[in-house]
């Protein structure tokens, strides 16, 4: 870091960057009309191999068997994929059984019901799960677990204990860094929406690029080494995207938000590395993993080598600290089908289940992979963030083998004016809020 004594020029700190998004890129896959049975098979096989090795330490005396091999009254361990039968879950067949009405049926925000029950399934068969120790409100379809229990006379499997895969192994956190380096996480810019305030984002950009404040504030800004935008950067007016032919003035209205975003991102990319992830409202594909936003959308910013368009989910390393983040779809889907005290708890569960998006492909759109499941978490991240949430929240969770993860819920910037800053030295994080209210 150089200080020119005459002009007092501050120079920005730097950090090493490595992208781990290769697993989420679909370029090499070819679609041959396959369905989703293959991704479920890959997931089951991958996680069952893992769980079998854990089961031998968890219940060394209890035999392991397949679902079809269950015998009544005999205690054993079974491993399989959970399926949650939900009464209120919307079913495509409802469109045919109910009368068509002009007004669509009101859909509840959460589809849980007291009558929901869990079923465990492997290649040989499926069995309904009973007992008080397994609560359907915590689980969702698509998780692979090991269950210890026994079959009852009624044909259910009465669960005594549940074993989840647990946090994956983590690479060591580099302890040698002594200086403060910050990464800024922001999401839900919604450029082009009626509710977004362009001044707020401009203030954020000015702060990051050091155009705001006195020397002290600028020196803080010079310690920001990276910016990640976690989805929903633009908001195209809804009426324009319903498939009808557009007049030329409407065509330019569609392009306005993205042009505006490019100009804004140009300012950031000129100063420091920037990663942009697609979100549910962005012009990218719908199903996970979302592919990087095309560089033709950013003619100005993509000229810089600091500008990186990334996949969603996004996995990368900064100074050997591993980051993993999504634009929110995984946690939002979990919220519809299960219950937790806060968003961070959903995030913690996905880590303990070792799967970023267990509800994919059941209720969350996903690519039909045939021989792998890229959402399986092999290595535990140090920082796990989810974008487009209602509010900023953060906490640290610990694993049984000394892993620790900073969980961060990044709020929608257009609504809250809050971005999140994480210190790479110790993974402390704090919100950075921008307001444009002037008290009279």
């Amino acid at each position: 870091m150089g200080m020119d004594s005459e002009n007092n020029n501050l120079s920005r700190l730097q950090c090493s960057y490595a992208s781990l998004d290769e697993a989420f890129e679909i370029g090499k896959e070819t679609y041959r009309g396959q369905q989703y049975s293959h991704i479920y098979f890959a997931r089951l096989h991958l996680m069952r191999t893992l769980l079998y090795s854990l089961v031998s330490q968890w219940k060394p005396q209890t035999p392991v068997c397949t679902v079809l091999g269950l015998e009544e009254g005999k205690e054993c361990v079974i491993v399989g994929t959970l399926y949650k039968h939900m009464k209120l879950k919307p079913c495509i067949l409802d469109e045919y059984s109910k009368e068509r009405s002009a007004v669509p049926l009101v859909k509840p925000h959460n589809f849980m019901h007291d009558d929901d029950y869990l079923v465990l399934e492997d290649e040989s068969g499926r069995v309904k799960l009973g007992g008080d120790l397994i609560s359907p409100s915590v689980f969702v379809t698509g998780i692979v677990v090991a269950l210890h229990g026994k079959e009852t006379g009624a044909g259910d499997f009465s669960v005594l204990e549940v074993l989840e895969a647990g946090l994956p192994p983590q690479i060591e956190f580099p302890l040698k860094s002594r200086e403060d380096k910050y990464i800024v996480l922001v999401s839900g810019l919604n450029v082009g929406s009626n509710n977004s305030n362009p001044l707020q984002f401009q203030l954020l950009i000015d702060h990051i690029t050091g155009h705001l404040g006195d020397e002290k504030e600028q020196s803080i800004a010079s310690q920001i080494v990276h910016v990640v935008i976690a989805g929903n950067s633009i908001d195209i007016p809804r009426g324009l995207t319903n498939g009808q032919n557009l007049a030329s003035k409407d065509l330019s209205r569609i392009a306005e938000p993205i042009k505006e975003l490019d100009i804004l991102l140009n300012q950031i990319a000129a100063g420091l590395p920037l990663d942009i992830m697609p979100g549910p409202n962005d012009p990218a594909n719908f199903s996970l993993p979302q592919q990087p936003l095309h560089r033709c959308l950013f003619p100005g910013s993509s000229a810089y080598n600091t500008f990186r368009s990334c996949t969603n989910p996004h996995s990368f390393e900064l100074d050997n600290i591993r980051f993993l983040g999504t634009s929110g779809q995984n946690v939002d889907d979990l919220e519809k089908y299960s219950d937790a005290k806060d968003k961070l708890e959903f995030m913690e569960r996905t880590l303990r289940w070792r799967h970023i998006a267990p509800t994919a492909p059941n209720t969350l759109g996903c690519y039909p992979y045939t021989d792998k499941d890229p959402f399986f978490i092999e290595s535990c991240p140090h920082v796990y963030f989810v974008g487009n949430q209602d509010k900023y929240e953060s906490r640290v969770i610990k694993g049984s083998e000394g892993q620790f993860v900073r969980l961060i819920s990044v709020p929608r910037f257009s609504e809250s004016g809050v971005a999140v800053v994480v210190n790479l030295r110790d993974l402390e994080c704090h919100p950075l809020s921008f307001g444009t209210q002037f008290s009279s």
């Binding site: 040989s124 068969g125 045939t370």
Partner: protein, 105 residues
């Protein structure tokens, strides 16, 4: 239309459900493959029979929607040790590359 003399029971053969009351629904009967009945217009050779056994083997996952070679590669990649003989047969090129369900379901 067939004349229905007496009760309908003779028309539709009914089978008593003799299986034990169990909520388990076997997706496939045990580990040996189901009997493959050959019809006159459905001749297949011994190598096709071997490939059909490979298709039906649950250990290697679902077979519908992928070529046999791709499924063999997947089994190999996941460490399931599929028999080398199957791959040699598939590479020889004289056999059907798609699974037995191709075009049928």
């Amino acid at each position: 239309m067939a004349s229905v003399s007496g009760s309908m029971k003779g028309f539709y053969r009914q089978k008593k459900n003799t299986t034990k009351s169990s909520k388990k629904a076997p997706a496939n009967a045990k580990s040996d493959a189901p009997q493959l009945v050959s019809h006159a217009d459905d001749d297949y050779s011994a190598s096709e029979a071997m490939l059909r056994q490979f298709d039906m083997n649950m250990a290697y996952g679902p077979c519908a929607g992928m070529t046999r070679a791709a499924r063999w590669e997947r089994a190999q990649k996941l460490g399931l040790n599929p028999p080398q003989a199957i791959q040699t047969l598939l590479n020889s090129g004289k056999v059907q590359s798609e699974s037995l369900w191709d075009g049928r379901i």
